[in-house]
């Protein structure tokens, strides 16, 4: 790989933009296709299929075998609430390869002593979230139990099409959350996207166990074939 290609690829990755390297293994020739260039590429059909699946692989085009190496952004986890569960969830998510950010305007909760080595933003969601450039490659967990903090954060997560959105709270709490969010303009499809009660049902009791349940659910959402069809598909 040419150094210029490697540098350009690293720049796309740093900016969290997907990119694909097209390699002809027969002669070592390769080129970088940025996400924005796919639509005009002769291999656009193959490139977009491969990017959608998020997997790298060999294709055959006109008798030539090409390797498409898909570089999708590193998954992130944004946690709303610097609560006890988050103290277990943040390191667990990091060990699974996620970039983790914790947001909580309550400075008593959002303290570096409670969250060593985790990027921590002690601001309200409307200030903290927009600069994070939350995207489809982000999982989002609202854990404060406080509608003043969780609700605006969830509305932001809907807008940014996070691949996973979860919120702490019982079914009853979630029902009233749905009503509040609808009153603020969320659609039924948005609300249906929230995993609540959060986490796979593994009988989790302690904060660490709940963290495992949440990461298991996020992993399933990331890795299993999608079965849920978007209700609001145009």
């Amino acid at each position: 790989m040419k150094l210029e290609t490697l540098a350009a690829l690293n720049a796309e990755r740093a900016a969290r933009r997907p990119a694909i390297v097209v390699l002809d293994p027969a002669n070592g020739e390769q080129r970088l296709v940025k996400a924005s260039e796919i639509a005009a590429d002769p291999l656009r059909a193959e490139l977009s299929t491969q990017l959608r699946m998020g997997t790298s692989g060999m294709i055959e085009v006109g008798g030539r075998k090409l390797f498409l190496n898909v570089y999708a952004p590193t998954a992130r986890l944004v946690i709303i609430g610097a609560v006890h569960i988050s103290q277990a969830l943040a390191p667990l998510a990091r060990s699974l390869g996620y970039d983790v950010t914790v947001v909580d305007p309550r400075t008593a909760f959002a303290s570096p002593e409670r969250f060593p080595d985790v990027p921590l933003i002690a601001e309200w969601p409307d200030i903290a979230l927009p600069p994070l450039n939350i995207d489809h490659y982000t999982a989002f967990a609202a854990l404060t139990h406080d509608p003043k903090i969780d609700d605006p954060a969830l509305l932001h997560a809907f807008e940014r099409d996070c691949f996973y959105i979860g919120a702490l709270g019982s079914r009853k709490t979630h029902a009233s959350r749905g009503e509040r969010l609808r009153a603020q303009g969320a659609s039924d499809a948005d609300i249906a996207r929230i995993h609540a009660p959060i986490g796979l049902d593994i009988g989790a009791v302690s904060p660490s166990e709940i963290a495992v349940a949440i990461m298991a659910e996020i992993t399933a959402q990331l890795r299993l074939p999608k079965v849920d069809v978007k209700v609001n598909a145009a």
Binding site: M1, K2, L3, L6, N10, A14, L23, M58, N69, Y71
Partner: protein, 107 residues
Amino acid sequence: MLNRDEDILQAAEAWQRAGHGVALATVVQTWGSAPRPAGSSLVINDDGTFLGSVSGGCVEGAVVTEALEVISSGQPKMLEFGVADETAWNVGLSCGGTIRVFVEKVG
């Protein structure tokens, strides 16, 4: 979606800019129960320092040896490792899969 290969690709770029010879090894094809999917990669510099993986640790040693040769020759190579492939390589995958690894010089 979920991989940390950017870290090793950044290391490869930094090594190259610091004047090292660098090679990139990438899994381009897998059959059977290969330990790491296509796209997994390993970067190696001329010290023999390497980051990343192309298997569960079974063939990394052989890949590093080949990569050092690619760094000095500049010619890319396709390596194939499989459990039954005893003629070409003296290492194999204990999991029973087969992988094809493309090794190329950076720069």
